[in-house]
Amino acid sequence: MSKRLMIVDDSNIIRNKIARAMDTYGLEIVGMASNGKMAIEIFVETRPQIVTMDLTMPEMDGIGCIRAIHALDPAVRILVVSALADKATAIQALKEGAQGFLCKPFTDDDLTAATGELLDEEEYD
């Protein structure tokens, strides 16, 4: 059975780019959100197992959203996909419950590799 994925990013073109790249893994996209608040609503309805998460978004930013989603389901796998390239932000995201961090701009290969690592780690958990 394919795993359920939610894509969170305030950019429509980034959401579509991630969706196209994720075809590689045959993931089922159960929802897309343009801000953290919307993401939490979709998460509660659809219970995705994997989430890609932007950080700079209106309404609720990605760090707050990671915290909320992780509280709802500590087993969810979260890959941060963000332009914020400093180490402190990556560490904070990982502390809040993300498992991976991919810096924008990214190629399809970068994304599939980061997703692959996330899925591989899950196999061993």
């Binding site: 305030d10 579509n16 332009a83 701009p105 399809d108």
Partner: protein, 148 residues
């Protein structure tokens, strides 16, 4: 903004185009802007900067450049909505990448996108603005950095 700091933005612009399109951008020498004659193209993504630094960064480009970047990315929807989205996303990406050098207290806002050549941009008063002009696939565009 020092020369070294401006070089950070030059490197980020180069990296963005090389990575996203595999076609290098020719980045020209940055210059101090005349506040009454700031460069503006069809779509402009403005990012507010706060925290340890104050000001704004904006990316401005012609529609044709944005259409070509979308095509490079495999995007088939070349609507006005997506062109505006891309201008904002590039501004966001460049500003966010700058945190690698400026640190996590270089706070960036979500993008505000301005459409149209006839628009004017109001930059923070008393803060010098530097224009980083560049050319990609024979199309001119610019990044403007006005940060103190």
């Amino acid at each position: 903004m020092t020369e070294v700091e401006l070089r950070v933005f030059v490197a980020i612009v180069k990296n963005y185009f090389e990575q996203q399109t595999a076609v290098a951008a020719d980045v020209y020498t940055p210059y101090l802007a005349d506040p009454t004659a700031l460069p503006i193209f069809d779509y402009t993504g403005v990012i507010g900067i706060s925290g340890v630094r104050q000001g704004c960064v904006y990316f401005t480009a012609p529609a044709e450049m944005l259409r070509r970047i979308l095509k490079h990315a495999g995007e088939t929807d070349l609507s006005v909505r997506n062109l505006a989205d891309l201008a904002g996303e590039i501004g966001n990406t460049i500003s966010g990448n700058a945190r690698r050098q400026f640190g996590h207290e270089f706070l960036i806002s979500v993008p505000v996108v301005i459409k149209g050549l006839g628009q004017t941009i109001s930059l923070p008063k008393g803060v010098k603005a530097y224009v980083i002009p560049f050319c990609w696939e024979r199309l001119d565009a610019a990044l403007v950095v006005s940060v103190v």
